[in-house]
Symmetry: C3
Subunit: 164 residues, 3 copies
């Protein structure tokens, strides 16, 4: 985990990684969920998991998807429930910290904050935490083959219907 | 809107764009409003607009300025009202997502969160949303020729006196 | 303070500075405080100071450390008090704005927001403000020789036990 020990990434790769995170937050906030699923490899792991469980090694996650197909199922469910509870979501994602770059896999972490706005309400903090990611080149572009959304609060103001 | 299809920007231009956003937030939070207006071209469009209006194509904006001169007028008004309602503003701006780069114009989007602190109060979320920007080189440096601040909440805790 | 007047940094140095900030937030949020102290030079200045005091030139700071040893003492104190008030901390740090690069010293500023989560509570904004930093190369890597955490709110929801 010592950042100083990692050989520097090529500038083009750094730029692509930054762009991947910017795109990730942007498509989610725009509700472009089909574009969101396209940011994952076909075989992938997507977990939304409380920090406490994650640090204790407990596998119990709030959301678990083990393929892009499962993410697409999730999007289908969102499309059906969204009309009942309208809300806007806003991601702020910190600059990723590169932990490893081996065998074509970049391991990175990034802090995130998600804000939620419901109609006629003030914006509030919905969820903050850390992405723990593995990124690979797949079919011409970078994608997540593993994304853990490790969130700090067990208590959340509304159910986590929308992706983090 | 597919990030993968855009030819990569030159590293120097990427750096300049990142610096423009960093400077934008920094001068606003420092109350250096004259420096803020200098980040726009003489002919420009600056809108602060609720997301709902923007997505429905309604032109009704909370703030509208169509030139740097109008932004300067706004700064003049701020200087006169500020003494009555002291507060600190703090911008967090996500990494910009580049959408297009054509004919000398960079189209970019970035999430932002603005926090507000009034004397003897806790800091709170004032406004979150997305910048939708067009950036050009003008008189030796990058400037915004168009900046839309599309904000998520119709309800805001205080009047939007200060620029977003 | 005019960003346009600064000669562009070498891309490698820009990348290293970005990585320093990413590492700074990440080690704090992970509670890796020994790694945090290693991000400072032996002789350093670390201040957590209200914006109002800082702008008036008042030296009164909430936290003051004048060497890495004093930071290590602080970590020791945190280790002893942490068990009584468990909480998670989450940093979001904006892209740094480079102000100067002279004689091997980079002066930079960055906005930050720190969120706090206590057990069985919603996440809330703990502290927002601006880092005012001086960065040098020291023993093979970049470190802070000066870091001011200038925060916007005098009122904070809990005591600032953990580093900002």
């Amino acid at each position: 985990m010592d950042g100083a020990a990692i050989p520097p990434l090529a500038p083009e790769l750094r730029a692509e990684i930054a762009d991947l995170y910017a795109e990730y937050g942007d498509v989610l906030d725009a509700g472009e969920y089909e574009r969101w699923t396209a940011l994952f490899t076909q075989h992938c792991l997507y977990l939304v998991i409380p920090r406490e469980n994650h640090e204790r090694g407990l596998p119990l996650a709030t959301v678990r998807a083990e393929s892009r197909g499962m993410l697409e199922d999730r999007v289908h469910a969102i499309r059906q429930t969204q009309m009942f509870v309208p809300r806007w979501i806003r991601h702020l994602i910190g600059a990723p910290r590169i932990l490893r770059h081996e065998d074509g896999v970049v391991a990175a972490r990034a802090s995130y904050a998600v804000f939620e706005t419901q109609p006629d309400q003030l914006t509030r903090v919905l969820n903050v935490g850390r992405y723990e990611d593995e990124i690979v080149r797949d079919d011409g572009r970078l994608r997540f083959r593993r994304k853990l959304c490790v969130f700090d609060s067990i208590l959340i103001p509304t159910s986590l219907v929308l992706p983090i």
